[in-house]
Symmetry: C2
Subunit: 147 residues, 2 copies
DNA sequence: GACGGATAGATGTAGCACGCATATAGTGCG
DNA sequence: CGCACTATATGCGTGCTACATCTATCCGTC
């Protein structure tokens, strides 16, 4: 996986057997590849392998998408009309396919902004609920700190 | 589905054919049921059907988890030692199973806080990248607004 | 007393997203 | 030639979710 499960703040992973990361594995963080690809395409159209670097850059190295997954997403978005692609006509280098966003793709990106903001907010709400509940429990349950 | 895809801010869904919500369907928002269940259990141990209401309350009605999914998650967490359950000994009402958190479950909740904060941050980073790229594009591409 | 609705728990199924491994092919290097 | 890097693509397994369905017990009502 990319960086994120390794650099977990609390160093999660030494209680029951599997940290929550495991549970959140796979699609655990929600759809990220598609919006990341859209962001990369908005910044600079190009071929898949390059978009992957672009994604790494615009997220400050925090999101490293799987190459295979990225190609899959690009092809699917093309089928759906959100991007277009043409085989780059270079003589030497390995064949590469240059992608560009369509108008629908731009609209899709706007939808994603709203959706990601929602996810951001919801994650925060849940994290707050969890941490405040944890705080409350330790306060009156651990040592009876009076209060 | 729960409330969230309906009340989408931008009213996403009128371009290519399917809004990003569709793509994010299923596990799109990442794992939410497990942390929500943990939060509910921290606030007030009880039986599944009740935890579902608790979840609705602590999230301000924003998260409405699927009943079936909640039971599944509870059973699995029990298998893994994060919660325990006993059949409530009531004469009348339908049989219910009372759940309680274990020490490992509390640790798991702590892991989830960190993980959810990470997800929150990452969603924000991506949303920022997308929206700033969108802004930049409309600025110099739409009407050549000078500047 | 039959009937629908709420409570309570559980399972089956389908879909989407992801990570990892693997296959292909050209290019440059030692 | 072996090896690494660029570039694209597919197969496979896992995880999480939503929707439909099934059981069973109450309770109020007609």
């Amino acid at each position: 996986m990319g960086p994120m499960c390794e650099e977990g703040p609390g160093g999660g992973g030494m209680h029951g057997g599997r940290p929550c990361c495991k549970r959140a594995g796979g699609a655990g963080r929600g759809a990220l590849v598609e919006p990341a690809a859209l962001a990369a395409l908005l910044n600079k159209a190009g071929h898949g392998y390059d978009l992957r670097r672009e994604i790494r850059e615009i997220t400050g190295g925090e999101l490293e998408v799987d190459a295979g997954g990225l190609y899959r997403v690009l092809r699917r978005m093309e089928e759906e009309g959100f991007v277009t692609s043409v085989w780059a006509e270079s003589d030497s280098a390995p064949q590469r396919r240059d992608y560009a966003l369509t108008a629908e793709g731009r609209d899709l990106a706007e939808d994603w902004v709203a959706h990601l903001r929602e996810r951001e907010r919801l994650s925060g709400v849940l994290a707050d609920a969890l941490s405040s509940a944890l705080k409350a429990e330790t306060a009156h349950g651990e040592e009876a700190v009076d209060e």
